[in-house]
Point group: C2
Chain length 460, copies 2
């Protein structure tokens, strides 16, 4: 496989990058904050700004779909019925700018300083959407697009995409594609192009241990009544063994083994002890014995208390035995682990470990499957090549400890894998004041996207 000469496309981009940046700044001036109803007009303005842009690029279809919430922009350009179809995912909504006083410049008045473009949404993810549009424009103006492109840009990602799944289901045939490009993740450093190849799933519970009919006097009853808060502590403590492994029955049954190759790959990420200690401020890490930090968060499941409550928690002392105790407990799951099986496993554990002196109630609040991009997923190799050629270095393949629900939905509903990537950086301050986009990285990203899209010419 040879990479086609893209110099003429690159040159076009370079000649036009200032104008494209100006257009991005216009988009960033629209405060499309999805969570705040006072910005509903801005939401409409943002979606129509993008519709107009795609219209001018000559897409076959550009349509704004209403949803019960904010609209979804959909566009497609079918160049050849026999060519593969790429679905590009993006979102045009942004986080609220709060706390406003943290911003050096107003959040919706973009400005450039020291190679960075500052504005709310610059990195997450108007800048990423714009990188893709810039690449497509550059190709369309100078050459022939060798791949069919569909674009879906939603307006509710920052509020949990409440209407995306039903949209995917309703428009399944329209959205039919071979794979998805999701540039809503990022890179580990400006010199480290990155692809996220797995996400962890989730099973989230609320557990209540119920004891006496009311709070009791701890003097009169201390020593004779099993205290629900002590029982809960014991039950939680028993969920890990001395090696930091989760003790729920059969919890690890579906967890796949890490190959030597994957271990080696993970070790290249540089996400080592110091990385996590610096990020979190702790003096020592914990977790499961026998695994490196990135293995612990990336390819191993975990169990955490997210909240715990019982009795008197204000200032000072109150001498009670609480009537009940509650904990929010969640597990992060790797691919092949089934949240519902984890739920049953937790029930079994509780049946075996909660003493008969108290009652217990378990609510299963939410579950999500983990996700692992298939080794042979279409497009991934091409994307790796494009990154490598652009940066002159081997891209990093990174597991993500959290979840990207959009990618999981695409897999579950459309049946396709996502190339989860992007050209944002860890210090872009997304969701915080002074969000910014590193322009040299952004421009390299556009170049990589051009390479990626043009590489379809040379497929089998």
């Amino acid at each position: 496989m040879t990479i086609k000469d893209i110099e003429h496309i690159r040159k076009h981009y370079q000649d036009n990058q200032d104008r494209l940046l100006d257009e991005l700044m216009d988009l960033l001036r629209i405060p499309s904050v999805s969570t705040d109803p006072s910005h509903s007009e801005d939401i409409i303005n943002a979606v129509h700004f993008l519709k107009k842009k795609l219209d001018t690029l000559g897409f076959d279809l550009v349509k704004v779909f209403k949803t019960p919430g904010h609209p979804i922009l959909y566009a497609e350009k079918i160049v050849n019925q026999d060519s593969p179809v790429l679905l590009v995912y993006g979102h045009y909504d942004v986080q609220p700018p709060d706390p406003i006083k943290g911003w050096k410049n107003p959040p919706f008045e973009p400005f450039v300083e020291d190679d960075h473009l500052y504005a709310r949404g610059a990195s997450d993810m108007k800048g990423q959407v714009w990188a893709t549009i810039s690449a497509i424009e550059s190709i369309l103006k100078t050459d022939t697009l060798p791949v069919n492109i569909k674009i879906l840009i939603e307006g509710e990602e920052e509020i949990g995409s409440p209407n995306l799944e039903s949209f995917l289901k309703e428009h399944k045939s329209m959205l039919e594609c071979d794979f998805v490009l999701n540039p809503d993740a990022g890179m580990l450093a400006p010199d480290k192009p990155t692809i996220t190849y797995s996400l962890r799933g989730l099973a989230y519970f609320e557990l209540r241990i119920i004891g006496p009919k009311a709070d009791l006097h701890s003097g009169i009853f201390g020593g004779v009544i099993d205290n629900p808060a002590n029982v809960l502590s014991k039950v939680i403590a028993g969920m890990h063994d001395e090696k930091g492994r989760v003790t729920l029955p059969n919890f690890y049954d579906a967890v796949r083994k890490i190959s030597d190759e994957e271990r080696q790959q993970l070790s290249k990420l540089g996400m080592e002890s110091t990385f996590y200690k610096t990020l979190t401020g702790v003096s020592a890490l914990g977790g499961e014995d026998g695994f490196t930090p990135i293995e612990q968060v990336g390819v191993r499941p975990s169990l955490d208390v997210n909240g715990i409550y019982a009795g008197y928690i204000e200032k000072g002392a109150k001498t009670i035995i609480p009537a009940y105790a509650m904990a929010k407990i969640s597990t992060r799951l790797v691919a092949d682990q089934d949240p519902e099986q984890v739920h049953q496993s937790l029930r079994t554990y509780l049946k075996q470990n909660v003493p008969s002196s108290v009652k217990w109630e378990l609510d299963y609040l939410s579950g999500a499957l983990g996700y692992l991009v298939q080794d042979n997923a279409p497009g991934v190799d091409l994307f790796i090549n494009a990154l490598q050629k652009t940066w002159g270095t081997e891209p990093l393949l990174k597991p993500e400890g959290g979840s990207i629900p959009v990618a999981t939905s695409m897999k579950n509903i459309l049946g396709v894998d996502s190339i989860i990537t992007g050209f944002g950086l860890p210090d872009d301050q997304i969701h915080s004041p002074n969000e910014r986009l590193h322009l040299p990285t952004h421009r390299k990203g556009v170049e990589a996207l051009i390479r990626f899209l043009m590489s379809f010419n040379y497929q089998g």
Copy 2:
């Protein structure tokens, strides 16, 4: 030892018990609620009502002492410098009547129905104070008092006696006595006269486990960071072993053994499994193996979580690893256990058991010594005899799992033991609507008090 004939005194009481009841009802009409500033005039009225009564009985000294809070009434009648001195403790303040709507009759309009006198303070403890005054009056009107009597009646018991300790210290020589009669406890049933012979002490702590510098995303960091809520649960779980024993180093060193005699005594109280299950609504009891319920709360120390908090505890799910976790933890101690030693013992336990991945902070919020009436404490035998003679049954000797700070203060400051007793019943509804006094028991109580006071004639 023979018991002196007290028939003439008893007859006087019987002839006058209706008038004495009317006077008690007048006292109960004064809403001397100590916690509510709008009742400050009633507080003054109540203390002067009692002062006037003691004046008419011919006490040598009757004086109202100002304190930074509500006044303390003090009176004394010294009959013979060589006779023993009894200090009677009481309080004239009452709990608020709330919830008002729960009362069948207004709380400060006492009325009698079915052998019960209903009013706020009827049992706790104006009725108990009045029983003592009734006994003293009956003796003074018909015979010679064979014991020196000092009386201290405070007005802040229901708000924690904030000014009592400094009063005891300031007037230590005035209050010099051989023992105290504290009728602020009660009986287990109308046919079961009861003396409380021990109180448990307390050591109360707040423990904080501090992890990352801020709440972390449980996906991105789950598995690599020691979660403070999980760590806290484990630390708490480790504070008891499989037999329900507290594992803090040296915790039981000072705990005295229970004698066979004490065990037998305790078994007579009828405070068995069913008693505690009915009271609390639990289906099974817990606690330390090898001890009966009353032994567990009465003569064994205990450790309880009084409150616990970390992370997200509202409705729904939030996927965080909490930055810190907090628990209020208290131990109930038996006589000879030193709260400060327990504090040090807990610190040692934490040093040994908290992992280095988190920090911990421990606040020692309060401590109180346990209290055990000495076997040879003056007056106790006489009181037991008086109860036995009056009820025709052996009085119960009961350990109290909670604390009675007044009794502990008397021991610590004046160096004397208290006879902790009273003629209230478990169903007197103290601190609740429809508080009441069982009049037949009250009258038997007066008779027992007459017997007790007159029995000093025959000492030594």
